[in-house]
Symmetry: C2
Subunit: 190 residues, 2 copies
Amino acid sequence: MLGSVTDRTRLPTTSYAVLGLLSFRGAMSGYDLKKWSDFSLRFFFWSPATSNIYGELTRLRSLGYVTAREVRQDDLRNKRVFSITKDGRAALERWLRDAPIEPSVLKEHALLRVWLGDSTDPDRLIEVVKEQEQAAQATLAQLEHSIAEARKSERFSYPVLVEEWCERVTKARAEAYAELRAKLEKKART
Amino acid sequence: MLGSVTDRTRLPTTSYAVLGLLSFRGAMSGYDLKKWSDFSLRFFFWSPATSNIYGELTRLRSLGYVTAREVRQDDLRNKRVFSITKDGRAALERWLRDAPIEPSVLKEHALLRVWLGDSTDPDRLIEVVKEQEQAAQATLAQLEHSIAEARKSERFSYPVLVEEWCERVTKARAEAYAELRAKLEKKART
DNA sequence: TAGGACATGTAATCAGTTACATGATTAA
DNA sequence: TTAATCATGTAACTGATTACATGTCCTA
């Protein structure tokens, strides 16, 4: 009721995430955006599905926040690249300034299994935890690569700070899983 | 197509989370479940909305995984308490054994703001990060309380392990936010 | 010649939230 | 008397996913 007029411009976070990606470098296709978000947003936020990105792009365009341009990359294939507009930038800045920040979410599906450890096979549990430890280490390697890349350009100074945050927390996650595994192994022996 | 028969029994994770809560202690109401999940699942997974819990309870009952019993708590108010059935326990164990584990998700809404720091007021950014640091510390206090409680009973030995994991990672999150704040402050001074 | 990367989208579905509806009890 | 807690649910909505549809180019 209240806000029915105001909320016309209130978009899901994904819209702003896409707009944000576009604020770094213009002229990207939906495909490019998906790839890049898999290598950046994914670490601390989430990477939307491809179809979701195309959907957002359509919406953003109808709002005048992005413009599309057809690019012929070769004789047969066409590519539609998007750029953020002045209006889009303004909307992004408004959102950054005014939108309330939702509480952070940590969804560790593996821990739900451990939590219900009494109903599970202890060895399976140890395996699951080991896998998570490895997954965290793999993420860490990707992050380190990503940080090294991002440091090359001044333009990514903020993303670098965020990735360093992620690095620290991912390290802690890996260690916490290692500790948990040790505890589970000890528990299994008794 | 494949699985159209098999998937009849494939439920969303929330169903199993509710079933899991019920596996610890029987005879809980929807209201109880919501409260408890706010103090346990929330830390490492997520706490479903009240209406969501009631919905799951209905579904679980129709599958024969839980039974309901009416409890008259005083002259006027009635309470419907639920207990897990043998079938429910079997379904939970099957899920724990067989279901693939989805990748973990970390959604730090505040970091999306930092990531887009070039489009934001630096002082506002520092404030936002400070708030996250405090939020993490508040979570830490709740966790410590929760761990102390859970240690009182043998039955919660697995939940204690999970909460210790959370404690460690939440500490790291708080520290990572503190470090980030320091970097932002330094950046602002230059 | 098969598989992966490039490239774009629609349609169906789903998991979950918010808003709403209702009403008693208890503590400040 | 006001707010919080107890207590249960339905209905409308929405954000996002999965499945599907289509086709080229390049590499092993």
